[in-house]
């Protein structure tokens, strides 16, 4: 977190990006994973539990940032079930972590797509949120800045803004601008074209900035 905090406060959002927590490298699957995968494919289904234990904290980290806290467990579960039934499509030329990260990102995207069909984003910002923004803008030291970021209002405003993006733009904005993945890696994770991700990343950020401008001007309105 230290590295991220420093970068986040010194870099201009979205223009001086750094790699996210889970940088994508084209590493091969780890030997331990390869052994487990071979045994699972030979019929030892129970070995999949070992794979889950090895990777669930990694998957949980990705999911926790993307879905509401009370839905994390359900989504992490879905990620591993999908992974199991998709094992035939896993090529050992990439790391299992990377492959799982893609499934996790796409499962979270599906979560928001389903959610968008069910209900529109709720709630508008309150006086409390507007006060928080004033405090955040006034924060002069790094400690004050981080303290503001950890406040409940920050998470609520972020959720309010993300809730006004389409699921596609939300997925891209989260990966590219919030996690800090390069466009190429974000495209790999989502299974979309680089051009699509680039265009969406630009549009999503413009929408976010428009929303924030609205808040600063004292008007919160729907975005997409």
């Amino acid at each position: 977190m230290g590295r991220n905090s420093e970068a986040a406060t010194t870099a201009t959002f979205g223009t001086d990006l750094f790699m996210g927590d889970e940088p994508i490298a084209d590493h091969e699957a780890a030997p331990e994973d390869r052994v487990l995968l071979r045994r699972i494919r030979q019929g030892e289904t129970e070995r999949f539990a070992d794979l889950i234990r090895r990777h669930q904290s990694h998957v949980s980290r990705i999911v926790t940032r993307r879905v509401p806290a009370d839905r994390v467990e359900e989504v992490v579960h879905d990620v591993f079930v999908r992974a199991y039934f998709g094992l035939a499509g896993f090529s050992e030329s990439v790391s299992f972590d990377h492959w799982l990260a893609g499934i996790a990102v796409r499962t979270c995207y599906d979560f928001w797509r389903a959610r968008a069909r069910e209900a529109p984003p709720v709630s508008s910002l309150t006086e409390e949120h507007h006060r928080w923004i004033e405090h955040a803008l006034a924060a002069e030291s790094m400690d004050a800045f981080q303290e503001q970021a950890r406040r409940r209002e920050a998470a609520e405003i972020l959720e309010w803004a993300l809730g006004r993006l389409s699921p596609e733009n939300r997925a891209v904005l989260t990966l590219v601008h919030l996690d800090g993945y390069p466009v190429r890696d974000a495209a790999k994770l989502l299974g979309w074209s680089v051009v699509n991700v680039k265009v969406r990343a630009h549009r999503a950020r413009q929408t976010l900035r428009r929303l924030l401008r609205g808040i600063l001007e004292g008007a919160d309105h729907d975005a997409e």
Binding site: Y84, I133, L137, F145, T174, L212
Partner: protein
């Protein structure tokens, strides 16, 4: 907007990015092992399909494709032959005629 409003937006964006990265910090990760394994065990028939190795799949597909090509080729040859049968030159050539004309 004020001239420095873009900077203010930048600043709010940065705090929100920080808020995003702080999500779930220090929270215990859920252990889904038992639940996932229960679901997998309950889906044995599907597992058999999922466990098919890509190599096996390639060989199976190739064998079926080869069989189909063979059948199609045989049918084609048969059709061509039967088509030629109507205009084939040999019936005339081999038309029976008397070898010895009186």
């Amino acid at each position: 907007m004020m001239p420095n409003d873009e900077e203010r937006i930048d600043r709010v964006e940065r705090v929100l990015t920080e808020a995003y990265r702080a999500r779930g910090e220090g929270l215990p990760h859920p252990d889904v092992t038992a639940r996932v394994m229960r679901e997998i065990r309950g889906s044995r028939p599907a597992q058999a399909w999922a466990a098919v190795m890509p190599d096996d799949l390639v060989w199976r597909t190739a064998s079926i494709a080869a069989a189909v090509v063979l059948v199609v080729a045989l049918l084609t040859v048969q059709l061509v032959h039967s088509g030629l049968g109507e205009n084939a030159p040999w019936p005339e050539e081999f038309e029976t005629s008397a070898l010895i004309v009186e």
